[in-house]
């Protein structure tokens, strides 16, 4: 085994080893209780193994940060703008002026053909409309994300 390692090491320092052979060297030098003659070489291989492991993780994190976040941001922007437009239209419909007789005095709104004059009831209807838009917003976001994955 040690002779094989010596031979592999010679080839390693000649730049002639494959990635698989280099993994064999890293496994060998990762062992505990190696004879002292191997200590400094082991330190080099342990460093290379540690550094490449961490680099893989860091690249993975950068990839994860770059792709889905940007797509979600774009989707969220589109859906939020659409939801805001829906909410505005809903509000304009609820509060549309001039509906009904001009002779009737005071503020009122029409909801499902009913004339409502109580501001508290009007506010409740408006809040329900916003909640509905928000729920639809979430559903659309999920569906768009699913489609783009």
């Amino acid at each position: 085994m040690t002779t094989d390692i010596h031979r592999l090491l010679d080839r390693y320092f000649q730049g002639g080893t494959t990635t698989e052979e280099e993994k064999t060297l890293r496994r060998f030098f990762a062992q505990e209780n190696l004879p002292e003659e191997w200590h400094e070489t082991a330190a080099i291989f342990r460093f290379l193994e540690d550094e490449s492991t961490a680099l893989k993780v860091l690249k993975e994190i950068q990839r994860e940060e770059a792709l889905p976040v940007r797509r979600t941001f774009r989707l969220k922007t589109i859906v939020t703008v659409a939801a805001a437009a829906c909410a505005l239209i809903a509000l304009l419909l609820v509060l549309q002026p001039g509906k009904g007789s001009s002779s009737e005095a005071g503020s009122y709104v029409w909801v499902d053909g009913q004339r409502i004059t109580d501001p508290a009831v009007v506010q409740r209807y408006a809040e329900l409309s916003f909640d509905k838009v928000q729920t639809e917003n979430n559903i659309i976001t999920e569906q768009l994300q699913f489609m783009t994955e």
């Binding site: 730049g15 330190a43 460093f47 680099l55």
Partner: protein, 173 residues
């Protein structure tokens, strides 16, 4: 700290580290380099950090990011005096500084930084990113044999300088 825990810690710390580094260095590429270096340091010292509370790790990484960002800005500052620039460069790249490195990982990273750019790139591609020699030849546009020669020189230099550091460290103990 295992690899899963390490990833969790890095994901949590990265945004604030990047913001600090970007504020000091003024550009995204340098900020990424600094943050990567700090993250690698955390991984190399994971046994020690495994016992740290998250808040302490956050404080350590913030300090490291600030220091390395300032170093980055200092080393790239243009100088009208060419001799002063050369002196500063040779100071920061001097093998003497190698002997002052606190641990093996810092020393080895410093040695890689001392290698000529082509050797450095080939060594990184082969030993850190695990590409095959033929792939590196394609990426660098040089012949396979030239890749092997450069890799060989880089590895031998790495061993030689590390041995210098290792023996120096042993005599200090």
């Amino acid at each position: 700290m295992d690899i899963t825990e390490y990833k969790r810690v890095v994901v949590a710390l990265r945004p604030s580290m990047l913001a600090i580094a970007r504020r000091i260095t003024g550009n995204k590429e340098d900020a990424e380099d600094v943050v990567q270096e700090v993250c690698l340091k955390i991984w190399h010292r994971r046994i020690e950090f495994g016992e740290y509370r998250y808040e302490n790790l956050e404080a350590y990484s913030t300090t490291m990011v600030k220091n390395l960002s300032i170093d980055k800005v200092r080393t790239r500052r243009p100088s009208s005096n060419e001799t002063a620039l050369l002196e500063r460069e040779s100071e920061s790249q001097s093998p003497d500084i190698l002997l002052e490195q606190k641990d093996d990982a810092d020393a080895l990273r410093h040695i890689i930084g001392l290698l000529p750019p082509l050797q450095q790139r080939i060594l990184r591609l082969k030993d850190l990113e695990e590409y095959e020699t033929a792939e590196i030849a394609g990426m660098t546009g040089i012949a396979v044999e030239a890749v092997r020669n450069n890799l060989s020189r880089a590895r031998k230099q790495l061993r030689e300088l590390y041995l210098l550091y290792y023996r120096h460290k042993k005599t200090e103990l």
